[in-house]
């Protein structure tokens, strides 16, 4: 791992390079990070017999909220009821949700160690904060639909299923890249 301090995001404020920005470490060698990620995934396979995931945790929380607000409505909805089960176990007692809480903690730890934690909105120089937030929200909205249809997101389908040579996961992965590249040109203004 390199420990050179560079401002790799180019987000220095007009007032000059802030000390905190200057202390930000460069990101890890992608191949070493990939091996770390792969070994984490392998550990999940060996210990649990399942892979990693993320969107399932969101679904569990969503189901929990709907169940809190309108229990009858949640039970009547087949998709939500699938996360609630027979009601004997809280939907929050979900493996993926605990894993995602771990993701939050792990990312915070890594960010703190590398001096990369601070409040900011990532955007191109000509994009207002409000617009960027709207784009991020819309992206999340679309992604939820994609992940729900595909029965998983980049973690649960592409990464996990990819390593297991799952047919649907590889089809899914190709389509994610295809979709990304197809639309990239039209939203490039976000980052320029």
């Amino acid at each position: 791992m390199t420990t050179t301090t560079v401002d790799d995001l180019g987000v220095t404020a007009a007032g000059g390079t802030s000390v905190r920005a200057a202390r930000r470490q460069a990101y890890m060698n992608p191949y070493l990070a990939g091996i770390g990620l792969g070994l984490t995934l392998l550990a999940a396979f060996v210990i649990m017999g399942r892979g990693l995931g993320a969107s399932g945790a969101f679904s569990a929380v969503m189901a929990w909220i709907v169940h809190m607000v309108a229990p009858a409505h949640a039970q009547a909805n087949e998709y939500i009821a699938g996360y609630i089960g027979d009601g004997s176990v809280s939907p929050l007692k979900s493996w993926l949700l605990f894993e995602v809480v771990g993701v939050f903690a792990g990312a915070l730890l890594s960010g703190l160690l590398a001096h990369r934690v601070r409040w900011e909105t990532e955007r191109g120089p000509r994009v207002r904060v409000g617009l960027r937030m709207l784009m991020a929200f819309s992206g999340g909205l679309l992604m939820a639909f994609g992940a729900a249809f595909a029965r998983g997101c980049t973690s649960g389908q592409a990464l996990t299923g990819g390593a297991l040579l799952n047919l649907g996961s590889w089809v899914f992965m190709l389509m994610v890249f295809a979709g990304g590249y197809a639309l990239a040109y039209f939203v490039r203004w976000q980052w320029r």
């Binding site: 649990m48 017999g49 993701v103 792990g106 999340g140 939820a144």
Partner: protein, 198 residues
Amino acid sequence: MSAPFFKFGLFGDETSLVVAFVIGIAFGFFLERAGFGSARKLVSQFYLSDMAVFKVMFTAIVTAMLGVTYLGWIGFLDLSLVYLVPTYLAPQIVGGLVLGFGFVIGGYCPGTSVAASATGKLDGIAFVAGVFAGLFVFAEAYPLLKGFYESTPVGTVTMPQVFGLPYGLVVFAVVLMAIGGFYGASLVEKKFAAPAKE
């Protein structure tokens, strides 16, 4: 001793949640290390200036795939007990496409948006909110979408089964493809290197 440990009953449901948290920490740590807490870094993949997404993802896939292959081969890991998501071709093709759109518009995917939120990215938090909203809308519309959601089921199949090839051969092909891809990515990055920082 045989793996997967959980499926052989080495520990129960309560302990598995602790395991989930610990594995999640490692997952989040490496996501952030790789720079995946940053939308700018992630979308660079689609502007060809930084292929880290491809590199990290395929290195992880190759690492875990080789691990699974060897551990299964020596009889330590019973691969038939590792959960495989069943394949539904049409919804997964459309889902992948839509998810790709969401990725390049929003700048994150569900896992990386959590890592971004953890490091203080406000757009990451907006993305998380968007995912919740989207899932709620999907659930509400589920009676309408169910037909498509459950269409073209293929069952739990792996690529070696589909192509009728030995498992090991497909593993080798994926490794070759990844190494070739990494080499290609380094060339592409040179060509489309990000313009000087503003």
